[in-house]
């Protein structure tokens, strides 16, 4: 405590000698009364996953559009309804809620407050609600590319994936990845094995939560022992456990690679730059900003936003430092597959795909 106080005190002293700004100067020219709000699920805004991406999208809207932003983190599932109520009371024009767990609470508040607008990430309603816009992703499309990439890059003929919790937004990655590997085998007559997910049985390896990195590390070590050399963890921060295990294997002389999810891991998990093959990205930040912008301009609609390869809502990230390890031929094939998926020639299906 005393140490902390000393550090902060000296930090204060170091920075305390600046000049005072002109008194009475006000900033934020062009600010409007529009308020965009966001309620997280229990992961919080630092979950390195959908809460964080959505929050960053809203913060970007704050900077770009000059709107006001209110944010509330939910610590437990009990906080959803009070938090949402508070947002409506605070006069939010649009409230972004994150995740299927907030589905019921969002529906209840939207029905009770027909004049307020809502957007919900990663969840769609069977019967649309007039003032709720679902923001959902056909992640399987991008994960398909990742699966093909992994199958085409593996040296051992075995690749792996695992999830955090078995929920549709996680398994959709694994379905696409599995199909990508399968497609590669069909096209090339190869037999690349996939560990950690069986699409037909809809069952595989899960860490049980999005918190315990050591479990992710253990799982990854198991996969390595079974001969896998590329792993795609679909588990938010638990992915770092996989990264740690792979880094250790690399230090021990193995040629291993990591595929990140949600954001470009090269930028968001820079510790693992040297093994980061690519990432399956969901561009939630952009979607949130777009929805806010539309609502601010009075163009709100409850038509679901579905992120696809076509509208670049889901993408395969650049290869960055591992560019040289991906054969040019494989890159061309990936481009072609992407084109085929966009054109509808190649269908990527998952039980978890958005039905809209």
């Amino acid at each position: 405590m005393a140490g902390l106080a000393t550090v902060s005190a000296s930090a204060l002293l170091l920075t305390a000698c600046g000049a005072a700004p002109e008194a009475g100067s006000t900033s934020s020219a062009g600010a409007t009364d529009y308020t965009g709000c966001i309620v997280s699920d229990s992961g919080g805004f630092d979950d390195q996953s959908f809460n964080q991406s959505s929050y960053e999208g809203l913060k970007k809207a704050e900077a770009d559009l000059g709107i006001k932003v209110n944010q509330v983190e939910s610590k437990t599932n009990n906080d959803f309804e009070p938090n949402l109520r508070a947002m409506v009371t605070a006069g939010c024009n649009l409230t972004v809620t994150v995740g299927f767990l907030l589905g019921d609470a969002t529906k209840a508040q939207a029905t009770a407050n027909p004049d307020s607008h809502f957007a919900i990430i990663d969840f769609g309603y069977e019967t649309p609600i007039s003032n709720v816009k679902p923001i959902i992703y056909d992640t399987a499309q991008a994960a398909f590319l990742a699966g093909y990439l992994a199958a085409g890059t593996t040296k051992t003929g075995t690749v792996a994936t695992f999830g955090g919790i078995k929920i549709p937004t996680v398994t959709i990655f694994m379905d696409g990845y599995a199909d990508g590997v399968k497609y590669y085998n069909e096209q090339k007559g190869k037999n690349v094995k996939l560990l950690g997910w069986n699409k037909d049985a809809q069952d595989g390896s899960f860490t049980g939560d999005f918190e315990k990195q050591d479990v992710g590390k253990q799982l990854t070590q198991n996969f390595l022992d079974q001969g896998a050399d590329i792993v795609m963890p679909v588990a938010g921060p638990v992915g770092k456990g996989a990264g740690a295990a792979l880094s250790e294997a690399k230090d021990a002389g193995k040629d291993v690679k990591l595929i990140w999810v949600d954001s470009d891991g090269y930028l968001t998990a820079p510790d693992y730059k040297d093994i980061m093959l690519s990432s399956v990205m969901k561009q939630m930040g952009d979607a949130v900003e777009t929805v806010v912008k539309e609502d601010k301009e009075g163009k709100f609609s409850n038509t679901p936003y579905v992120g696809t390869l076509a509208n670049e809502g889901v993408q395969l990230a650049p290869f960055h430092d591992l560019e040289s390890q991906v054969p040019a031929e494989l890159k061309t094939e990936l481009e072609q597959i992407k084109k085929d998926i966009v054109d509808g020639k190649l269908k990527v299906e998952s039980a978890a795909s958005p039905k809209a």
Binding site: S8, L12, T15, A16, C17, G18, A19, A20, P21, S42, G44, N70, Q71, V72, E73, K75, T76, N77, N78, D79, E81, P82, N83, A86, M87, T89, A90, F100, L101, G103, D104, E126, I165, K166, I167, P168, T171, G208, A351, A352
Partner: protein, 457 residues
Amino acid sequence: MSDKHPPKHAAEEGSSKAHRAAPAAEETAAVVSVDTAGGAMEPSAVPATAQSGQLPGGPDTLLRKIFTGSGMVSVLAVLLALIIGGLLIASTDKQVATTSTYIFARPTDFLAAVWNAVTRSYIALFQGSVFNPRGNSVAAQFAPFMETLTIATPLITAGLGVALAFRAGLFNIGAQGQIIVAGILAAWVGFALHLPLGLHLLLVLVAGVIGGAFWGGLVGLLKARTGAHEVILTIMFNYIALYFLRYLLNTPAFQRPGETNPISPILDPTAVYPQIFGTQYRLHLGFLLAIAATVLVWWLLNRSTVGFEFRAVGANPKAAQTAGINVSRSTILVMAIAGGLAGMSGVAQVAGTEKVLTDGVAATYGFDAITVALLGRSTPWGTFAAGLLFGAFRAGAVQMQIQTGTPIDIVLVVQSLIVLFIAAPPLVRAVFGLNPRRKKPARAAKFRQAATTGGAA
């Protein structure tokens, strides 16, 4: 553990540690003899003093403490918490950070920013938990208080369960698991069965209470029959309940038709608690039941034979056995009742506020309940008051976040500090130099206070 319970420590390790207890020999001896019958037996996990909520010559309840002798200390406790919390809030405030860069050029800006950040946060806490003058109707102005009562409901009943077990000498960490099992059963009855109004809700309540009582009673049975320690049992039972719940939520029977998300169908309208003051507040019938439960536990402990037996077992199981009390029966019964009370929290969750079953059904109520029970000195009405205090903090946290942008983690740190200082008057006395100067009584006082607050730390 041992440091928290000096009297137990001294008794356990006998003469080797006797010198530590020597300056307070009289005081300690009294406390120890209550706990161990003068060393004839092993001390219980919870010191007898914490079980009874009374110490020789010590103050008895939190409220009485505030309003009588040590009122000054309580005021100082809150003041200290507010100051330290305020510093934390200020340290996370953007305006404070900006003005600190030119603190020497114009210190007034910095001080104004600090004052502003701190007062705004505390006003938000009050407005979020008690009364919001900015509400546009009387109903809206009182909404925060209703929210406080709503959040307090599961805390009170689960806290009562923990407190009751304390009084019988059992350290019940298992409220979390008991809430979960109760939630599973109550929710299932709520969404799978379709029954007429009244009967349905009654059955939901009964299912939940029985579920909690079963889960708690099982711990009591294992302890009574095998002598396994209740702390280990309850902790492991929490895990079993949680992972069993996660398994269930992955089976179609507990999912919505056509969906694979781990979330149960919504409970039937006939299966949920009616809202006491209409739909604008979340406050539900469960709160009245929580008041009834508090009265019941008070009666049980202070007026009934069974309660007397619980307290006797808590004070000294050996002596109780000698006196003809069936200790095994009491252990099983008290854990079952404690589980049933925690079960009421589970029902309040699925039938009161959430109306669905998820793996977060127990939130952190089972663990908060331990703090609530200790803060309430394990007395029924003390627990009730402590539950309200916690409820107010939880409710106010939302407004603190929205109005001031204070990160939720800092909000919880500030609240934990307030609880810490309220629960540990000696700490406050030490900070303000109020501890008596004379050496011997000072040590004695230290012992007495340590025992009073031991479990809360």
